[in-house]
């Protein structure tokens, strides 16, 4: 399949998602969520397609996409690990835990391991302050995280 065919397929799928959501009140965020669900990120081309469909400017869609950190501009690894860096977790040592995670995975924040297994993201407050430090793996919460637990997580996702 050549590049143009892939691009056309992408555009077709985005248009289908738009058609599915456009009846909603304030359809842009539901559309963006579905696009990210489908592609793992918001393809650059989606901004123009969404803008045209909703009769907005490309700039407006870009403004919304970039406002939310969870909308990605490139695909993540197979799993995403979010480590909380808010105050409660900081007081319980999340910073040093984060350094260990980075060293173990050989990546910095927002990066993905070379094998594509895991992407490391910082997050500010998962609402688990009472059980800090907290983390989230692919939407699943982890409380009272320590180095052992971190090792288990990494081993599990790489398995």
């Amino acid at each position: 399949m050549n590049i143009r065919a892939v691009a056309t397929q992408e555009a077709t799928r985005i248009s289908e998602i738009i058609d599915h959501c456009r009846h909603l009140e304030g359809p842009m965020l539901p559309i963006l969520h579905k696009v990210q669900e489908e592609f793992g990120y918001i393809p650059e081309s989606a901004k123009q397609i969404i803008a045209e469909a909703l009769n907005l400017s490309r700039a407006e869609v870009h403004g919304v996409v970039t406002f939310y950190h969870d909308f990605r501009d490139h695909p993540a690894g197979r799993h995403t690990l979010k480590l909380c860096r808010a105050e409660a977790c900081q007081s319980m040592g999340c910073e040093s835990l984060a350094e260990k995670a980075k060293a173990k995975l050989g990546i910095d924040w927002h990066e993905t391991t070379a094998d594509g297994a895991i992407t490391l993201e910082p997050v500010f407050c998962l609402g688990l302050c009472a059980q800090a430090p907290a983390a989230m793996l692919d939407g699943e919460l982890y409380a009272r995280l320590d180095e052992d637990c971190l090792n288990d997580i990494v081993a599990e996702v790489r398995a």
């Binding site: 650059e44 901004k47 123009q48 803008a51 009769n55 907005l56 400017s57 490309r58 700039a59 407006e60 869609v61 870009h62 403004g63 970039t66 406002f67 950190h69």
Partner: protein
């Protein structure tokens, strides 16, 4: 002379009639309800510190600098977002406020470069002003932390937050390092211009202004109107001219010389050098807004192609010879007299310019009537809005548009037909879009899907994509629906119009052949859509009609104008704000040039030349006897030239070879003349056939007045000495003197006084009056001492409004097997008409060449791909240009612009014209297209002729 002062009140004015009194810093202030405390303070002369507020956009409340304290209320609300309330006691300066403001400024400055001395905004920077206003003395945080200012940190590591300057736009730069993210630019783009090209990307400390989706300005959706540059409080968005020259030291209010909107600008100067044009907030046509042409495209005034010395040549094959002004005037006078002696008094004539001032136009027609002794005067309105003059004159009794531009703020349904406001009249387009975003409905009748049909936050309720040439049928079908479904406004018609004429017209439009179902067969407009549009227009509230050359430049142009007038009268949409019939005039002074008696049959003020009383007024004043027979129109002059009876012409500021139809006929006419005098800024295409060239002056170099599409007489003010030596009115006066006329005007104000003395609709106008009022809409006289923003308020000028039957007659220009497609033409935002001016500015980055828009279906049938050269042929001729494949045009229709001389679009157009006024049928030509290798023989021959005819003795060949 200092800069023209303008107060920024911080938030827009409230239009409420209810008044509220409150106390601010011990002063009692009374303002309309809904006014912000910030604005109320400013009106009391108290300036609350602010950064994110400016009165061109709504309050936003983000900068946290304009905080105030209100007795009895908690906290420190922002004065820009807090409305006034009766009895409030407000303090704008307290110990608490001082501390907060200083702290906020400290944060701003900790992430801002400290290069004030070398900054382009030095002296015009609100951030600098506010640092001074709050008494900022030091920044405790230092400058080494996270910042957007430095490309590299002190240790040499790259700063990922830093972004380089964007210099892609030819007129302004975007320097993100100086941005304080007040979002004034983003809001100006949205609220004022309505393009939504800018956004704030990211959040928190990552927030940045982003054109499009993090693109360069030039690649983004930006249309370069400059509203963002004007709104920017720092040097982040700055005119390149300010960066290069420095801050202006004085300014004068003047009027843009491009389109018929007639925007008021402050020409900001340093000495005699123009630093920048800034739209004037008090300008009543534009209300502080502008487009890319008016604000930025003035570079032609100092372009190297401008001719600054008079030139003469014996034959058009000779090179030009520079001469003194005296020699030029003597030569023209003796040639014109010789020709008249040899061929008769009627053998010469002239053309006035819709680009020049009222005063200059008045002088040219006076020279022709009093000096040449004939009425062979015409103007370019012949080729654009002459059907408006005739059609509205018949229906209402005067040819003028009925409203002011402010009227659109009260419209509920807007019908746009044959006009493309966002390209052709951009500032009106922005004002219209603003109203549409507020909820007004839009109906577009146009063969092409113009931007207004669907553009961010604006969508037409109906788009009727008619076949070019079927305007009358579509409008009559709309009337059919309104009459047969009983949607007309009987009360209005009975009081304001002739009822029996209405009944006759109603019976006519109700005939079954005018039903949408019947007309659909040849107009291509689906009947259901048309019925919907008619119902919406008739019953949707205040209905306003705006139209352009897509209405007039047809063989039934005058009929279409009458059909528009019928529609407005039948629905009662005349004589109050928000309604009316609004011709969008093409040129800055096309209204004025018509007012000033530029037509062969009319003296100033639209009074027929055969009217003895009018003639007597002028005869007495001018001391001559005027011919009571109308003279020749432009096409007649050219016909007479080809026949050998018309031999000399004085053309001021019009390029008839490029702008008039059937180029080959025009060139044959000009070539047959013995003395063609072209008075222009540049050696234009017409000058290829000229014997004398008189250099013209720009609008920056003269005093005068322009009259815009809403009949508004605006002042034009001289801000620099004419580079060619004389303003155009002086040139015409000296030519008249050389021909023996005893003219002695020392200033254009004296010419206006003569106009006022002779023309009743201008009786109250004088430069002193304009100085006092800023501008006025004619008629301005004893009956209307303050002018007339809206016409026909209590009754039509002609008494009763006249309904006229509008029978559709198919254009003679038909498609057939040889020429199966219909060509229609239009304009683009960045270029202006034949492009003599805009092609000599940086605006060419947006439009390097004219392209032919073709529907994918038609293109595929002919094997044409996007960007291919295609040959465009009609019965009249052929030319080549490159194709642009788009579904903006319907199958069977092709479209092009006509901004570039090598396109020669008018080689294609035919000599069919409006039945009443001879306005050429530019908007419909049957054509065929086929793939091509490049320019046609005519284009190549013409290129060679142009090159040869631009040689000047002693100079290198002048560039085009």
């Amino acid at each position: 002379m200092p800069l023209v002062p303008e107060i920024d009140y911080g938030t827009p004015a409230s239009k409420s009639a209810e008044l509220v009194t409150l106390t601010i810093d011990g002063r009692e202030v009374t303002v309309p309800a809904g006014t912000s405390i910030m604005r109320a303070s400013m009106e009391a002369g108290i300036q609350v510190p602010k950064l994110c507020a400016t009165d061109m956009v709504d309050a936003f409340g983000s900068c946290r600098l304009c905080l105030i304290e209100v007795e009895g209320r908690n906290g420190t609300p922002a004065s820009c977002t807090t409305p006034v309330a009766p009895g409030l006691v407000v303090h704008t300066q307290t110990e608490r406020l001082k501390q907060i403001r200083k702290g906020v400024m400290e944060l701003y400055i900790s992430d801002h470069p400290l290069d004030c001395l070398t900054c382009a905004a030095n002296g015009d920077c609100e951030l600098q002003d506010m640092a001074g206003a709050v008494g900022l003395r030091d920044v405790r945080y230092g400058y080494e932390g996270d910042n957007h200012v430095k490309a590299r940190s002190a240790t040499g590591t790259i700063n990922a937050q830093w972004m380089p300057k964007d210099e892609s736009n030819p007129y302004f730069t975007y320097d993100p390092s100086k941005c304080i993210v007040c979002s004034r630019c983003v809001r100006a783009c949205e609220e004022v211009q309505g393009t939504f090209a800018l956004t704030i990307e990211g959040r928190g400390f990552d927030s940045r202004v982003s054109p499009g989706a993090h693109e360069a300005f030039l690649e983004s959706e930006c249309v370069s109107c400059g509203a963002c540059v004007q709104a920017c409080p720092t040097a982040t968005l700055t005119e390149k001219s300010v960066i290069e020259i420095g801050q202006p030291e004085h300014s004068a209010v003047t009027t843009c010389a491009y389109c018929g909107v007639g925007c008021s600008f402050k020409a900001e100067m340093r000495g005699e050098e123009l630093v920048r044009m800034v739209p004037w907030k008090d300008g009543q046509a534009n209300r502080g807004h502008s487009c890319v042409k008016g604000r930025f495209a003035y570079g032609y005034a100092s372009h190297k192609d401008r001719i600054l010395n008079p030139m003469i040549r014996e034959k058009i094959s000779d090179p030009w010879r520079e001469v003194t002004w005296e020699e030029a005037f003597a030569h023209v006078a003796s040639e014109f007299r010789r020709i008249q002696y040899q061929y008769g008094r009627e053998s010469i004539g002239g053309i006035t310019s819709s680009r020049c001032t009222n005063e200059e136009t008045y002088l040219v027609q006076k020279l022709i009537r009093a000096g040449f002794g004939n009425n062979n005067v015409d103007t370019c309105a012949r080729v654009c809005h002459s059907p408006t003059g005739y059609g509205l004159g018949q229906a209402f009794g005067t040819s003028a548009g009925t409203q002011n531009f402010d009227s659109v703020e009260h419209s509920d349904v807007v019908l746009v037909i044959g006009a493309n406001p966002t390209d052709g009249h951009p500032v009106f387009g922005s004002r219209l879009k603003k109203r549409l975003r507020q909820g007004a409905k839009l109906i577009v009748i146009d063969p092409r899907r113009i931007d207004l049909v669907r553009t961010p936050h604006v969508e037409a309720a109906f788009h009727l994509p008619l076949k070019p040439g079927t305007n009358v049928a579509v409008l009559t079908a709309l009337a059919h629906v309104i009459v047969t479904e009983g949607l007309f406004d009987e009360a209005f018609i009975r009081t304001r119009c002739d009822w029996s004429e209405f009944e006759d017209w109603a019976a006519f439009v109700a005939e079954p052949q005018h039903s949408p179902e019947e007309t659909e067969k040849f107009t291509g407009v689906p009947a259901e859509e048309l019925r919907g549009a008619a119902r919406l227009f008739a019953k949707g509230g205040n209905g306003a009609i705006y139209y352009g050359l897509g209405v007039t430049e047809h063989s039934q142009g005058s009929t279409t104008v009458m059909a528009i007038a019928n529609l407005a009268m039948a629905t009662g949409n005349i004589g109050r704000p928000g309604v009316g019939v609004n011709p969008l005039r093409g040129q800055n002074n096309v209204q004025g040039s018509c007012d000033m008696g530029s037509f062969p049959h009319e003296l100033p003020g639209y009074r027929h030349i055969s009217d003895d009383a009018t003639r007597e007024t002028f005869e007495k004043l001018w001391g001559v006897t005027l011919n009571n027979e109308p003279g020749l129109r432009i096409p007649n002059m050219l016909d007479a030239a080809v026949d050998g009876s018309f031999k000399g012409i004085y053309i001021q500021g019009e390029d008839i070879l490029q702008s008039d139809p059937d180029t080959k006929h025009v060139s044959a006419g000009l070539a047959a003349m013995e003395c063609v005098v072209v008075h222009d800024l540049f050696l234009n295409e017409t000058a290829n056939y000229a014997h004398v060239f008189l250099p013209g002056s720009t609008f920056l170099e003269k005093d005068g007045t322009f009259t815009n599409a809403e009949r508004r007489i605006n002042r034009v003010r001289k801000v620099m000495t004419p580079k060619n030596g004389y303003a155009d009115w002086e040139v015409t006066q000296k030519l008249a003197q050389a021909m023996g006329l005893a003219w002695a005007y020392t200033h254009p104000s004296e010419i206006m006084d003569e106009i006022a003395a002779t023309t009743p609709s201008f009786a109250g106008v004088s430069y002193a009056y304009l100085e006092e009022k800023g501008s006025v809409q004619w008629p301005c006289n004893e009956k209307f001492p303050n002018g007339s923003p809206i016409m026909h308020v209590d009754g039509f000028v002609r008494g009763k409004g006249k309904f006229i039957r509008t029978e559709y007659v198919a254009a003679d220009e038909r498609t057939g097997p040889r020429f199966p497609l219909l060509l229609t033409t239009g304009r683009i935002l960045s270029q202006y008409n034949v492009g003599a001016q805009t092609r000599r500015t940086e605006n060419v980055v947006w439009h390097e060449e004219d392209r032919l828009e073709i529907h994918p279906h038609d293109a595929e049938q002919r094997g044409i791909k996007d960007g291919d050269w295609v040959k465009l042929a009609s019965r009249a001729g052929e030319t080549t240009l490159r194709a642009l494949i788009t579904d903006r045009v319907a199958p069977g229709v092709v479209y092009t612009t006509f901004h570039h001389p090598n396109t020669q679009a008018n080689v294609i157009t035919t000599d069919f014209s409006d039945w009443a006024t001879n306005c050429p049928e530019y908007k419909v030509t049957a054509v065929q297209i086929s793939p091509s290798n490049g320019p046609t023989d005519w284009q190549e021959d013409y290129e060679e002729l142009s090159r040869r005819s631009r040689r000047i003795v002693g100079k290198l060949e002048a560039a085009e």
